[in-house]
Symmetry: D2
Subunit: 345 residues, 4 copies
């Protein structure tokens, strides 16, 4: 049994962490923070939590929190995270950071896409929290950089092909579509109901901040630099990311042969479901869960493979993966607290 | 540990039963039936179930199934249910019937609203499966008539007031709104995406088949016959029923006084959450769970009380309540397998 | 050909006024105002308008605008409207005010529900802009108080019954459901996509500000005071209001008899469509148009009539009705610019 | 003034044709056909049409219809169309066929993707109804093959680049997303509300029947064969297609330079709106209209251009383009009946 804090609990990632953690048999939630809702029970901020978690929101005080917990989930915006993470580490807590602040390994790249970083000395220690690729390093990690939602969906879709050297790294094009919860709970005109509903658009073409994170991790899987085209879109649904990935095959391979490769690659993974035959993923079938569903088609006509992956951006793309990382880092069964069946419809 | 069958597994109620039962620690699912999908794994019918339940759909054979299981959930349309329920009972199974076939106590009323009934002799034995009102009788029940979705939301909303004799039974008006999963998975033009999305309508005004069920159960709570106005509407959401109930108060009572009555009435109920203060239920905050959230306002100007309740029609309105009934009837903790946190957003 | 200004053009009512007015053969749009977007073409605020209206947003200057136009549509929040309406009138403009500021006839009632009023002397002159009831007075009106969206849907639903003295005014209960555009384009957490989508709730029970407006207008149709129960709900759709109205019949009348009454009452109305037979309105079938569709059922069992009406809250509930009022007040054909076919699906 | 028939009026394309045609000043609608709804007024099939078009549905009788009308819109499934089109032509009608039956020029290609064709002799005469590319040939056309929805969005997005020889034809990848009305009004489980809502998936990867149509038309714009990767997806919205197109640039060009090319190419086109600066299309801003909005980004990092286009699949992707074609073929102003402002929100 460990004690945890959820720092930044009033966003969608925060409430999702709580939804999962309240039923985790090895976890006691001891603290939730929210500047905006200080003094209010978190179950008034999110009536869904009534009876499950009625803790009162605190302001964020590193020393006070560190004295009470073993593991801290920081669900803060980038920049805010780096202001508190070193303090929690110094006080002896494990930190699972859901912001972008410790995901990139190259300070210059971080500072080009975000802003100046105040603790780049932690980059080397931070483990990129994708257990399917970094399980060994996560076992002893003090600081886990929880991956971005888009990167998770894309890296898992492409890892087997890149690792096997089957695709041309220069040919990668990824067209992703995300549900609106990915834009957070902050009030913005662009995420008002009437602006999103019955609409669909691309945004941040060739300029989205997840691009260097995706490129860093894909490059780690091969021996070449990666420069991909990445286009995110905004879907009128609450949850879910579907990534459609295009790559030129360097050898002729059938769909069946490529699926075989995926079955092997993910044979021991409890959270990656490779779709049988010609089935393709649908975000509806992973809703509320930590699964990444993957399907693919080898197109003989164009010599390309098209890989499609689906995740719930708030679970495998954020809170669920954070709990999976905690499980690995704390020695619990990897799917502890995460045996959730997708809710359909 | 008991063995169960889900008969009629390919509808939305069927998949919801499976979603809940696969994680129930006292249950082994031994059989799923679907005429349409005979021979197909249920996880191909519902890819959400991959890895959780990969049983192959059988055709419905009472003798064969009864030999293998202790409890049968019949998730069939009315009329189809009555064709198999007596056989399962005769073979020694407990039956939890999710159809309308055993909910009404008066054969003439049943046959007026539905059609001829082939086993009315079971009406006396069948227990109406609303544990909040009939827990004692459910303990030994062989045949449980799982309530309708609208009735569940309405009876729980009005029970405290009727029991306390505070409202005029002749004044009852209930305006209910249901998500589209309530219409089932059968293909009909009226439930196509483009017909429902961005639309909203009433249907079955003064003629919906749940009316006699609601009236029967409300009458049981008071000493008078009940004749209510009930208007269902179709909501463009997947899940959820919100019922807005209007009743004339026979004594002046403040909102606070009436809330007190509700807190007392439901003090020991784990699945009814009375909203604090002026909060009102939202179907979004019960999604995926067995909760019934209730809020109310006493309107001094008109002398009426307005009670609002929210449930997930597939859970407390169907599959979840069925499992709750099974828990009571089999002596398990009432919330076993149902400690689900609402998924929001 | 008249010259018009749309004051407060950057809200949903503003863009809807422009959508209708740009195709109105008798209208030239000369001015749009928006403090927030001063200097920006309105077609950058609303890309839907590209090529139709590329006027640059001005700040609101009464004198400058009054010098250029004949008719002013004020699409401002209440209180902001009263600050400019008297000036426009004094400068010789006709004003069609879409706020609540001139709808109520009783200053005390206004000030109880809203705040102090700075020009109550205009109450007597302001004509309530529901042409189906006040067409004669609108012909010469200088100041038209465009009705609220809920009141429009409710008054048109109940007028024939109240006028005919067929229902008990003390029995009125109205359960209304509105699309989210009714909450405006201002940024609020409550109207974020993820807060509204897949949700449904009541709000403002027994306390919504449209209540006195509805009661005032219904009382005008009968000889008694009206005190109704009015419950609004928030629908996860962009546009549309459906009102379900319950009233006790004072004489036995069949559905067919009551429909006959409605056909007669609305025989000459181009924007009220009484549904044939047992058909009931659906907001989907009035989308984008100035129609109010009405259907009803007489329930012999309870002695009540249930009337259902559907409008598009941004058209018959706001911008369309404002243009209809302009047409009447300026002597144009009443449906000029409003011969819009509903967009389905 | 011409007389027209809408053959196959009970689908979403049919009702959309009627929505547009009832307000067309040069058109009299004389006949609507629907086998399923024979004898029923079309306004009972689609209550949106009440008061606009109350014609009774006929069964399809070529001779009877041809005797009464000048132009026939065939809104039938492929194969059904070819059974009646030759008859209408022989009887002297102009035919605008919205099916796929006359779009392809190569019989072998048609028969590979569809089935045997009974009137391939008409292929040479049929004009592909994309006025932006084939206006001259449309002027005298007897038989117009109205383009598919996906092809329209893609061809208009890529035509300027291909015509200018700026992109590598072998590099084309198109990722398209369509609203659900594109799947038609036929009842299928896959388009039920609960199956589509809150879901998102790809389908028909590397195998969609629009592929050869797109390739044929793109090849016409360049001198090379085209073999593109085309992936359609199903969006949980009623209307709209967004196509995101990726192509390798053969010369370095900035976004501004490429936009200039587009402005020039479409300078005289009333229905193509090239977005200014960095703006990108959103299907919400073309809803209900015949516009194709186009935006683009030149990505220096990858050397690719990403072009995004948005149309309403039922208008520019079907009924609106059909009316535009009729206008061209009949000598009316090209935007007659199509001066519709997008409905937002």
């Amino acid at each position: 049994m460990i004690k945890v804090a959820v720092v930044g609990a009033s966003g969608y990632t925060g409430v999702e962490l709580l939804r999962i953690l309240v039923n985790h048999p090895e976890v006691e939630i001891c603290c939730v923070t929210s500047r905006q809702h200080e003094g209010l029970p978190i179950s008034e901020v999110f009536p869904s939590l009534h009876g499950f978690c009625d803790l009162v929101c605190e302001v964020l005080d590193v020393a006070s929190i560190a004295a009470r917990v073993d593991v801290v989930f920081t669900a803060l915006p980038h920049k805010s995270a780096m202001e508190v993470v070193p303090g929690f580490l110094a006080a002896g807590c494990k930190v699972i950071d859901l912001s972008a602040d410790y995901r990139l390994k190259d300070q210059a790249v971080y500072e080009h896409w975000y802003q100046a970083h105040s603790s780049p000395e932690l980059f080397a220690e931070a483990v990129y929290g994708l257990p399917e690729l970094y399980r060994d390093q996560l076992t002893d990690a003090r600081l886990i950089a929880n991956p971005g939602c888009y990167p998770t969906s894309i890296i898992l879709a492409l890892a087997p092909l890149l690792k096997a050297g089957l695709i041309d790294p220069g040919s990668l094009i990824v067209d992703s579509k995300s549900g609106t919860s990915g834009a957070g709970r902050g009030v913005k005109q662009g995420t008002l109901y009437c602006e999103v509903n019955e609409g669909f658009k691309a945004y941040g073409i060739a300029s989205h901040r997840h691009t260097p994170e995706i490129e860093q991790e894909l490059a780690n899987l091969t021996e070449e630099d990666i420069s991909l085209s990445f286009t995110p879109h905004l879907l009128p649904i609450n949850r879910g990311i579907l990534s459609t990935c295009y790559a030129g095959l360097m050898q002729k391979k059938t769909t069946a042969e490529l699926l075989e490769l995926y079955y092997d690659f993910y044979a021991d993974e409890v959270f990656v479901r490779v779709m049988p035959g010609n089935d393709l993923p649908n975000v509806a079938f992973v809703r509320g869960t930590n699964f990444c569903d993957v399907g693919l088609v080898s197109d003989q006509k164009t010599g390309r493979v098209i890989v499609v992956s689906a995740i719930d951006n708030l679970v495998k793309g954020a809170a669920g993966q954070a709990v999976q990382n905690m499980n690995v880092a704390c020695g619990f069964a990897e799917n502890q607290g995460l045996k959730i069946v997708p809710i359909f419809p």
